[in-house]
Amino acid sequence: MAASPVLPKLVGQRVKRREDPRLIQGLGTYVDDIKIVDMQHVAFKRSDVAHGRIRSLDTSAAESMPGVKAVLSGAQIAEFVGPMPIGTPFPSPDHHAVAVDAVRYVGEAVAVVVATDRYVARDAADAIVVDYEVLPAVVDVEQAMTGQPAQVHADFENNLAVALVPSGTGVSADLKTIDDSAIDKAFADAEVVVSQRMLNQRLAPTAMEPRGVVAHYEPGKDTMTIWSSTQNPHILRSFIAAMNGMGQDQVRAIAPEVGGGFGAKINIYAEEYVVAGLSKRFGLPLKWTEDRSEAFLATTHGRDILGYIDIAATRDGKVLGMKLRLIADIGAYNMLLTAAIPTLTMMMANATYDIPAIRTTLTEVFTNKTPTDAYRGAGRPEATYFVERGMDMLARELGMDPAELRRKNFIQPDQFPYATQMGAVYDSGDYGKALDRALENASWDELKQQRDAAQAEGRLVGLGLAMYVEVCGLGPSSSLPTGGWEHSQVTVERDGRISATTGASPHGQGNETTFGQMLADQFGVPLEHITIHHGDTGVVKQGIGTFGSRSQAVGGTAIHLAGAKVKEKMAKYAAALIEANEDDLVFEDGRISVKGAPDSGKTFAEIAAYAYVPVPLPEGLTPGLSEEAFFEPANNTYPFGCHIALMEIDRETGEPTLLRLVAVDDAGNLINPLIVEGQVHGGLAQGIGQAMIEEVRYGEDGQPLTGSFMDYAVPRASDLPRFEMDSTVTPTPVNPLGAKGVGEAGTLGSTPCVVSAAVDALSQFGVTHIDMMLRPEKLWQIIHGGQS
């Protein structure tokens, strides 16, 4: 008998990705790469006013263009596409996929064209003439709360989408009783209070692949297939089926290769409903591909929340209490998760600290801007930013080292599981360990001396530090309206290869690799013998999707559990075939054999073949090796870390340069450290981008001023330093893998530590806070014109 190769254990190794060969050769299939015979192209005419009533819509020129099949107004679309549902329990105005009589942001769709060719479709959309009665645009969020200069929705007085919701110490879960005594006492006892208004500005998520949809309704079968650049095909399937009066069994949703999501591809969009609805109506395959210019207007934005923070403390740095008043500018409509995102900011207000009393309040406000929804981190970077900037201000006020102030207030390792003032239960943590590691890696004390020496020479050098804790691995179902679980089916095929499905539909996360690593170890087979199927509701029976850093913690666990069930059954078949006790068997190196006696066993493929032609059928067994598992965690996971930044600002130009970024992240157990590093790198770039160069801006008339890559700065390679990475490992008890999730971590600590570094560099000019982004002009003003 030929000796089996000895297979290395793969979990925990830097395994290079299995996804890459197709992607580096241009062989991946993204939505816009899909072609179907007879496919027609859809284009949208979009509003160029921020707020107005549609007086008339003239489609005659468009209709007469050769190649144009149909032009439809919002009212015509509304005949078969109803108002779009949302995924949160908050009251919401009707939101038509295509505006019927009023427009509420620049970019809102007002008409739809179907044509034989995408160039013709665009020409026809341009030829549609819309006459608007222009209304005053609601742009400033605090002015909007007074009902001025207009109301975005008639039924929402003072533009309040969500009127003041309190949370935290003294607030009962049902909001019925509110007891202010603890928070009042904290502030009465305080020796020091720092207060600041901070804007966590509006951002454009900007996945490099814009959105796209192909829908193909087949009248003969009464089925619909929809391909979309989405993070969650199963949720898409549910909503598309419901909107079209079809069963979920009749709709197949496919997320093919998806070119990034960052939260903006969770939402189910107007274009998905319209393209699907039109395909059903015409019985033709249709495609729509978003232009980048459209993406800046029609894909949801992120962040845009004002925070008023007050921190009460003693002189020796013990935080006694915190107030955080939040005002979210959610734009013109509620989208799938819009209203829920700022509630995560409230939830994470406790940060990494043992604070005796916290009170937050949240108000959500409609304005005439693109709606907001999830953007990488979704609510948690906002909380981290407000609290960490606040802690930085407190340290400065007290003349304390910012690291020492943090350490003094940490939740201690023996306090976990830790119930926060905000109602979260942190699973596990060791914040001091992450802080120490980061200080060590950054050489904190030397760095402080270098900074002081540089400042003494007249250079504007500053240091910033931030801790973070986030909520990841989203579940259980009580916390997610879609259900808070994940699903997998693992099948050992007749030839001994393994097929596994996952509902965690990836868009760059590398699940084919990490999930493959887990199964390879679990079954003792080569990675090449495993295929992970995802992103197709026709193949993957159930699923929720990929967001909230949940793929590994929830999706990975579902795979692991389904695998364990198959393995148990396979062991029974093996025990019967080799006449051994199943408890004595090991799955190793492509064989199943008695522990310590590899020659005693059979190959994996031999056992698999037996299970599919089980003659004789072992008692109590059914044929086949295919099992499924749903996994719903009992709690979220709470990864954490510490980020440190070193920045220099040019005195003459105000230009900031980020010199160093030291990151220590704790995501629990890591399946593939190479992929984890990549995830953190990407998050850091986005977090630094927010601090330094990214900002969606609107003019007073509600016109977007950042509608292309010319005006909206996505970080480029030369904008960023080489990140200095490390991790600590504090496993979670919430799932059997001990993995917490890492997709968003990079965006949490980086933003406040970079801003704090800038404040540190300019503190000699009397500045204690600088609102993002760190535009050179703004910094120059501080240097040359006194405080901003």
Partner: protein
Amino acid sequence: MAQVSITVNGEQRSADVDPRMLLVHFLREQLNLTGTHVGCDTSQCGACTVLVDGRSAKSCTIFAVQAHGSEVTTIEGLADGDQLHPLQNGFWEEHGLQCGYCTPGMIMSAVNLLKDNPSPTEREIREGLDGNLCRCTGYQHIVNAVQHAADKG
């Protein structure tokens, strides 16, 4: 309609095209070479980068008719048979991609970069790739990938 004839990945391809058709759409729609991507409409993201007569070019800024008579190399034509190009290898080895959308353009730009400067410094790589946006990787592994290719190339 205008007649164009372009050598794409070593094969002569001819077609009647709308004079306003962009080279990127000619490649993607007419030739089904969908490895070249479109990430913007203002010539800034570099997702559409190909080689035209050996130099990197953004195929969304060129009309197909302007490329008449040229030699174009796309990501599909970069490998030598089964042998991946050193940059393709570098991106794989160093985890230089996540969603993969920017990757073909990024690799084609890097081909040009290494042609001009076979052993670039990290700074030179970062500046050399400034015309290509990646939203996933934070660029660090892309820099490593290019260094990997430069070392092996």
